[in-house]
Symmetry: C2
Subunit: 351 residues, 2 copies
């Protein structure tokens, strides 16, 4: 991590300017060292959290879709970051109107008693495809490849910005998966800290390499390809499989067969191969589970200036078939109710 | 951890007997070392996960409540584990009819290629209070104390069982928090592995003690009591506060003011003091947020035979005001939209 915490005493004047400038605070857990985001920029009044207040439901209808009305969401030309070429656009990228991270100020570090916190410096972008009803699972491979193009382009554009040490790219589909807008869109957050989940995988991969002189993901993929028990689809470059220790029902990972630590270095021809497997996996989930809500994201190496030669980037797709309850929240141990082998067999049938 | 993984090759005969005996498998993530539960005992057919199938909604009505009809859930006298004294019972404990962990067999360890898994050996109990409509937040202190009594009694009864290394006690309130049955009930899972979240806190507390020769939680509590910014309620023994790095909106922790590593060693007079603060906190959440869904759980030291003198047990209450989406699932970094200071101020008003 590039960050060095400067123990600056927070003055009342700081407090004021902070309120004007920052959309969020990154607060560090004193015990675990993990970070949480307090998105004060989109803070509501305490009363607004009450269940007694009728929640305003976002409509899924095209007539009221925010992404169909650029004037409402800051998609006007002047803030547009990226757009597919040609007059008739198919994909565009713009800043999230309610960002969890924002870049228009210098990052400052604060302390309060034993605690540390810092400005939520970074970037929060939205990647929108044109058709309101045309979700990723129903797209053609070439359209999925265009989305992957945008992920890579924006990653490359942001990875060397000051204070950006990790970039998360993710997609929420369906209300149960946290998608507040039905129009298909992905999000990108470029943030100053390395997340605990990535850190666990980085440490695990590093430890395994030290002990066994091989990549733990390569070993896993080799075993999956040999056993075929949990493989759903594969082509020359990529494999989609239900991981042995699936965290949720019908979880699917897509990984490059050849060792690769950095998503952003994917080649054009590989991207097309990825689009093929990715579309098949999303299509199988859509068809066999009746268009369930899901989240997917890319787990790739941090961009903090260090090398991560033992990490192996991959995509994780998590269909939303259950709710985290007390046991999962307490322990971090997840309970699923279908064996990954059976899930894979079922998804394979939809090929 | 007491467990030693024996690399036993799984035979086909094993497979058969396993299917008959085990309700779940604990599978270890090859990269991170974390565990997941595949609860095959309550497995559904793949088709049953489809969104196209009409989900059978559990009714919240008293007429069809499973806990009002012992014959349906195995609450009959012969399986009853614990019951409040007197003919007119107010609380009872019985085995979960669909357990995620079960004890009626010897634990076995298996491997498949590079992966490890083991039987989901353990105990899964349900702690039910009598009145269908009388949730914890509305109980009198003495009734809350009776629930805490049951937690402690069952903890003490199970902590020294073979293969039990950690005991999770948790409570789900409301459908959004994963409560499938509306009748107030808590659950207890006694399991053979130490969970990753607890492990993070144990390691953090241990590291902090080595560096600073003091308990990190004691330091935190001292600061909270001095600043009073995030304190909601306190009495001589306990304090309820919104943690500085809250993971969710209106998160509340309740901790003993004096250093204590083990919940199960709580004294009767302390339990009454805990009941007072606990009821006030739950009542404030109920009143100010309009009876929201929530989860709470006890974070206490493992019971694996080791000492954890630097850990400090506490209760965490997580109101359910938002859904984990792609960013949280990808990174483990949680986003909340109200400052803990403001949340505490709001909850304090309900005193």
């Amino acid at each position: 991590m590039k960050i060095e915490i400067e123990n600056i005493k927070q003055k009342s004047s700081d407090k004021k300017s902070k309120k004007q400038k920052c959309v969020s605070e990154l607060r560090q857990d004193l015990v675990t060292g993990d970070w949480v985001v307090i998105a004060v920029g989109r803070a509501k009044r305490p009363e607004d959290f009450s269940q007694n207040k009728k929640q305003k439901e976002e409509s899924n209808e095209i007539e009221s879709c925010l992404f169909e009305h650029p004037e409402k969401t800051g998609q006007e030309e002047d803030v547009l970051i990226y757009q597919s070429s040609g007059g008739d656009w198919t994909l565009r990228v713009f800043p999230n109107k309610y960002p969890a991270f924002c870049c228009d100020h210098e990052a400052r570090y604060f302390s309060e008693g034993p605690y540390f916190f810092m400005d939520g410096t970074g970037y929060h972008e939205v990647i929108v495809t044109r058709d309101h009803y045309h979700q990723l699972a129903l797209m053609r491979e070439i359209e999925v490849a265009e989305v992957l193009d945008a992920y890579q382009e924006r990653y490359l554009a942001l990875m060397n910005k000051p204070h950006v040490n990790f970039i998360g790219i993710f997609h929420n589909h369906g209300k149960e998966a946290g998608a507040s807008i039905a129009h298909p869109h992905s999000q990108l957050m470029a943030i100053p800290v390395i997340s605990p989940y990535i850190q666990l995988e980085l440490s695990g991969a590093e430890r395994f390499y030290r002990q066994n002189k091989r990549c733990v993901y390569c070993l896993m993929i080799k075993h999956e390809l040999e056993s075929q028990k949990r493989v759903i689809f594969e082509n020359e470059e990529f494999v989609a499989f239900c991981p042995f220790a699936s965290r949720v029902n019908f979880e699917v990972w897509i990984a490059p067969k050849k060792h690769a630590s950095y998503f952003e270095r994917i080649k054009t021809e590989e991207k097309l191969k990825l689009a093929q497997v990715f579309r098949q996996a999303l299509g199988a989930i859509h068809d066999s589970l009746g268009d369930p809500a899901y989240n997917f994201y890319i787990h790739t190496s941090p961009c903090d200036g260090n090398d991560y030669p033992h990490y192996h980037w991959h995509i994780e797709i998590l269909p939303k078939t259950s709710t985290w309850a007390g046991f999962e929240l307490e322990t971090g141990i997840e309970i699923s109710t279908i064996q990954p082998e059976m899930a894979a067999e079922y998804l394979r049938k939809q090929k």
